[in-house]
Symmetry: C2
Subunit: 431 residues, 2 copies
Amino acid sequence: MGIVVQKYGGSSVATPERILRVARRVAWYRRQGHDLVVVVSAMGETTDQLLALAAEVSGDARPSPREMDMLLATGEQVSIALLAMALHRLGVPAISLTGPQAGFRTDSTHRNARILEVRPDRVRRELQDGKVVVVAGFQGMTAEGEITTLGRGGSDLTAIALAAALGADACQIFTDVDGVYTADPRIVPTARRLPEISYDELLELAAAGSQVMQLRSVEFAKQHGVEFQVLSSLAPLPEEGGNEEGTRVVAQVNKEFQRPVTGVAVNFRVARITLLGVPDRPGVAARLFRAFAEKKIVIDDIVQSGGPGSTHADISITVARDDLDTSLAICRDVMQEWPGTELVYDVDVAKVSIVGSGIASHYGIGAAMFEALAEKGINIEMITGSEIKISCLVRASRAAEAAQAVHDRFGLEAEHPQLVGTDGATATQSR
Amino acid sequence: MGIVVQKYGGSSVATPERILRVARRVAWYRRQGHDLVVVVSAMGETTDQLLALAAEVSGDARPSPREMDMLLATGEQVSIALLAMALHRLGVPAISLTGPQAGFRTDSTHRNARILEVRPDRVRRELQDGKVVVVAGFQGMTAEGEITTLGRGGSDLTAIALAAALGADACQIFTDVDGVYTADPRIVPTARRLPEISYDELLELAAAGSQVMQLRSVEFAKQHGVEFQVLSSLAPLPEEGGNEEGTRVVAQVNKEFQRPVTGVAVNFRVARITLLGVPDRPGVAARLFRAFAEKKIVIDDIVQSGGPGSTHADISITVARDDLDTSLAICRDVMQEWPGTELVYDVDVAKVSIVGSGIASHYGIGAAMFEALAEKGINIEMITGSEIKISCLVRASRAAEAAQAVHDRFGLEAEHPQLVGTDGATATQSR
């Protein structure tokens, strides 16, 4: 009993039938005595259709971001009205609210607006009136009354921000997968759903290429301490025997669910750029980073070779593949300051990462990962790491095999995997 | 030079190509030095598609008017964003505004809201900024921030109300016909476009079944003294040789354009109900009218037969065909108070009307109309009239022929028709 904020994505409301199914699920939760706030995205292909119309009308011109927001915000407005009608049909009192009506104030960065404030007075009033409140995800309004949208994954952000503003008892993100897995089941068939994962682990998984949720929604949840649940809207309804389990995303994973390695992620959308023979002196890497920062391109990883006494070094970086052309232009520009430097790049690579809060506190996890790859004869072309992540760059053609090998090595398919040391013995002692 | 408010209907913006064509027309007007405010409706079939979605989701339940407004208002929002983008593509500075942003405050009668106030501050500011302002027709907002729609023909109302609020120099309603005709050209091929028509004549034509514009937009224009022009958006652009003439709708038709009979209208969507043998005493018609008023059904015409000394009379009424079932139910209910009364009805009828400011001031116009029908052997089943209208109910199958005969009789195909008396002589003397 308490306020539950739910979010249903575009595929969950893609057709009138699916909207009715969402309504039935909402009605079930309401029968359990909860006050419900339901955030929805635009129906299935709507956003793509609107983008296509904009492209047709604009021709070679780039559509104004302000007018794109005016256009795109209609998608969610259609969904909320239809879901409210579906709830009415089931006899559930409900009212739809646009983002602005629900109190979302944003800055004026059209198409990627930042939430400045959520004033959910109207939402609270309607809840007190006994209504299910259906809120348009992804949208807000500036102080000047301009319609804005929150960018990719914006509806998740709407739900999490509303949960924070309302002090909700639960926040549930319904999507087309039934939780966060130890790996993408399409790549690693033995992948297992995690009952719990920490914000930090999910952030690292997202950064490493897992597509469950957008980074900034998870960051927002972490910042505001909103624990949430990832569930499938396609799973059976509770009244059909569904279990509504999914994965809880929390600050600290409950001890019983802790595992040294939480998951494996594969990112195929990367490219490697190597600068050969750059001067081996202080400030070279800094110069490169600054040039990338100026163009707002993120360097995923950087590795610099060369050591004491050498006069030249090689620098390898990885970037998102979409950023490759811009990145090469930046490098060519900077290289003019470093005569004799050569540039090579490779798009035929993929990054396989393991993520886990236990990585920093357990011996031998890196070694075990490298060994698992070596046993399969998979060459590691670049290694990077953080407190809770280790990434290996491999040939794209071997990435799936690499992910499966690593997944097997750490026993991630098990409910309670034991960390097995490189010598075959259990090695769960802390540093 | 001055503010021009234009309105483009759904068929004018049905496709990206048509939107670009509207943009080219707007750009032409802007090049003439005008400040432009452009009101648009939802694209072509959009509203019907949204209604279909609502029906699918709602099943047998009647969708809430409030949620219908939330849903339907998105149609115009899509159009305004796309037209603004199209204008940008042509290099024309433009900004789209929703009805609420453009300052439309309404009452809370969802689906048929009344405009309480238009505060076009934002519109003025954007015009001063040198922009074409594209406004969503058909929509407004209550004082409580609820989205409302203005009902059928609402976008015309938006344009006329904006023209009034801005003190615009011109108001142009672009539609899929190029003006108001002496008759529907599909029924009377010799029909001629009128250069001018008065509010009152257009109101009578609309009431008599002409579908150029909704009654209440014309009434609003009359009340607020907004003269406007009806034009075709499908006609050639001015730069392609189009003349942008259409029909001016004015308080008083210029002397040079005055004609005794302005037009002929045919309404096929009528039904006649006759109550035979009702008591011939005071208050009988009033009783019937009150019963209809309680159910909000409009009686188009009423004729009561019977005279001095008779104890019973027959009452015939005409109603819109869509209201027939409800009307019959009302009659059956009332008839219980009048034992012996019989009920008959007929849907195989149509009403042919002539409208003209000259009708009251010229002899013999009625006689000439009845004579024209008699010459064709068309039986007149009911006659009603007003200061500026005479209507005859005829068999539906003869209605087109009747309209043509009357149109011919009054020479409406001519640029300056002369009223020819029943004796064949010109009879334009006043009463």
